[in-house]
């Protein structure tokens, strides 16, 4: 069946479909699409006549445009149709739903759907998310155009190509493409967090499940605590454990501390032992203190090694550590002796010992120091990280400047409104 050109689904809804004699078969109620090569393609129209539904296959169509739709078969040979969950229907499943625009990194609502003819098929090529789509659905696209013309403006279409669309609920996944998944993974984790916080928790969780572990871990730490908890609780323990393991221990501890105790325990048990111990240690501290902010992910070296050896070692160690700008020098009991900044290390003669260049007058805080106080010290001395030591001087962890900034200025996804 030849169909050239393009049309919006709302333009043909409730339009009569004629049989070869010009009798009305029924009115267009919905459109069935299935996965195509690049775009979903139309396989059938659902017609409605006197409350009963019929399935008119695409191949049974003769003319298909916004003015006339006619068929080459008669009522007798039409099959009845019953709504079922397997089919993907444009009006029922795509119209009015929220979807993710992977290109613009935001959540939008589908106002209309655009079909385009290609070979002898009708493809779903784009969704309309603009004002014009709403006007068209309401039946005053023309009037809207006229009004806008008074203001010398054009009522523009806001179309998003299907290739940039990522469904929120698994239902649409069946026909989704591989492209947007990759695109979503390439989005900045903060953008992903923003998207998740704009939709319901259930949709957020199913969207989140589609991310790879690394992206998921980064996006998770940008989310609000309640959302984090909702998402992790809804996941199976193994997947949750994988994601938590990927996060820096301080952020992992933050997430776990907001979970129900049983779930947190379960996840901790499935995490690698060493990592789990680090997290466990951090979980013991109050959330708004240095202990609650700190991470135990830092670099320590003994004082007696040479700068050359330290650099050598650093190349290996720095790979897995989040904050690398300070090397903490400790004695064998992990008592903090001093600090060497990365800059000092690189500028020092290779044969010097770390004990020769180490700075002993350094600022430290204790685990129960209030977070605001920590922020003030970090700001005052322009530090990238500050060590946390217990009363006897043993090194427990560091608080990094990015966590301090979160105290003063929560990241936008966290600060983001919620509907009042």
């Amino acid at each position: 069946m030849p169909f050239f050109g393009e049309l919006f689904v709302s333009e043909i809804l409730r339009k009569p479909v004629l049989d070869p004699k010009g009798e009305e078969l029924g009115k267009v109620r919905d459109i069935v699409v299935v996965r195509g090569e690049a775009f979903p393609k139309v396989t059938a129209l659902i017609l409605e006549k006197k409350k009963s539904l019929m399935n008119l296959p695409w191949t049974g169509l003769n003319i298909f445009n916004k003015r006339i739709i006619s068929s080459n078969i008669y009522t007798e040979s039409l099959q009845t149709y019953e709504f079922n969950e397997k089919d993907l229907l444009i009006v029922r499943d795509i119209f009015d739903k929220q979807i993710v625009d992977a290109n613009g990194a935001k959540v939008v609502r589908v106002n209309d759907v655009k079909l385009e003819g290609y070979d002898s098929e009708a493809l779903l090529i784009a969704v309309d998310v603009g004002m014009r789509g709403i006007m068209r659905r309401l039946g005053f696209e023309r009037g809207g155009e006229d009004v806008m013309r008074i203001f010398k403006k054009h009522l523009s279409n806001n179309l998003i190509s299907w290739t940039y669309i990522q469904p929120l609920e698994p239902k649409l996944t069946k026909i989704s493409l591989t492209v947007p998944r990759q695109m979503v993974s390439e989005l900045h984790p903060a953008d992903i967090a923003e998207i998740i916080s704009q939709v319901s928790h259930k949709e957020g969780a199913s969207f989140f499940k589609g991310l790879d572990v690394e992206t998921a871990a980064e996006a998770l730490s940008e989310l609000e605590p309640e959302v984090q908890a909702a998402i992790i609780t809804g996941m199976d323990t193994d997947k949750a454990a994988d994601i938590i393991e990927e996060m820096p221990p301080d952020e992992a501890a933050d997430v776990l501390s907001d979970l129900p105790v049983d779930k947190a325990k379960e996840i901790l048990e499935s995490i690698e032992k060493e990592e789990a111990e680090d997290i466990q240690e951090l979980l013991g501290h109050e959330e708004d203190t240095a202990g609650g902010l700190m991470t135990n992910d830092f670099i320590t070296y003994p004082p007696e090694i040479s700068v050359k050896d330290a650099i050598e070692k650093f190349r290996k160690d720095a790979e897995d550590v989040e904050t690398v700008y300070y090397l903490y020098i400790t004695d064998p009991d992990e008592k903090l002796l001093g600090v060497v900044s990365l800059r000092e290390l690189l500028l020092a003669p290779l044969d010097a010992k770390l004990s020769d260049i180490l700075e002993t007058k350094l600022k430290t805080v204790t685990p129960d120091t209030d977070e605001i106080e920590v922020a003030e010290i970090v700001a005052k001395y322009n530090l990238v990280a500050i060590p946390v030591v217990d009363t006897e001087g043993f090194m427990l962890g560091i608080v990094t400047v990015d966590d301090v900034i979160d105290v003063i200025l929560p990241p936008s996804a966290k600060r983001k409104r919620r509907k009042v």
């Binding site: 119209f95 609502r109 659905r137 929560p410 936008s412 600060r415 983001k416 509907k419 009042v420």
Partner: protein, 407 residues
Amino acid sequence: MSLWKKVAVFISVMGPGIITANIDNDASGITTYSVAGARFGYSLLWTLIPTTIALVVIQEMVGRMGVVTGKGLSDLIRENYGVKATFFMMLGLLIANFGNTVANFAGWAASMEILGLSKYMMVPFGAVTIWILVTKGSYRFVEMILLYACIIFVGYIISGVMANPDWNTVIKQTFVPKIQWKSEYIMMSIAIIGTTITPWMQFYLQSSIAEKGISKEHYKASRLDVIIGCSITDIISFFIIITCGTLLFPYGIRINEASEAALALRPLAGDYASLIFAISLANASLLGAIIVPLATAYYICEALGWEAGVNKTFKDAPQFMWIYTLTIALASLLVLIPGAPLVFLMVLSAVINGLLLPFVLVFAILLINNKKLMGEFTNSRMQNYISWGTIISVIFLTVSWVVTSVF
């Protein structure tokens, strides 16, 4: 579950129901209760019992939808009933809530005048403060202010107790209704229901519960929050009626506005009662003026798929920012223009609210019985009888209220 665990769960989900209920007592609500008390004494107190029951039945359903679907009511209506129904409903809500905001600014202006402050200064000051608070402040800050501001409503309880009513009569009249078959009396009782059960609060409650992300396991605690909230609203109403019924009714003082109540109280009950009434009115008006425009802008943008958020700029979220800003700016301007048709606007807003409510309630009950959305949380047969009964009576009463107030 141990008692302490239950308490902890409740505290964590508490909030939406209580805040919604408190904001429900905005300037127009307080006016209705004051007028009712001054005109009919305690004899309308009984209406608060069926009103509370209806409010609980309806809010419980809406709250349940918020917990189970995690979506707002405007989202659900859009996704299940399409763009047409949503668009006209949102248009109605916009107009009705504009009228509501005007009423709130008028209440703010009147209470400021009583406190001896010029409205020409205080209305612009209030409008600008609200705008800045919401667009430049953080949401948490706003929420905190809202929760604390709710405490000021206790002022009405204090003034009710200070009025020293005859509690025997109060209790008798509350539980044993003596209905007067006068048209004014019947209209007043319907007005009480109409001002207590409004369309916008259904949207507001469901969204705030959905946003809070309360899980299905904690649904019972959330229901308690809703029930407590509904009871608090009507307890406040109860005390407003008592105050005016004790102090103004015996002298036959007729009032038409809440601010007149505050003024009339001064010679009868002293400066304090008058002051408490004026401050509470100012607080209620301002709270309403913060929430109603903001809520409206959110529902409309979400339903129609526009960017929304208080931290966004005019460029990022133009529709949202314009709806929010224009509602506040125009409403506060109208209050200051002498001879502006304020009464007409408020009646119009009440009428549109009355017309919207049937649709909102019918959509709500249809959605809650949708198995695909609600799963095992749909209404039971018994709940459906109760809900339909409530909804049909509320619809009948509000429509007759609309009809009588227009003609």
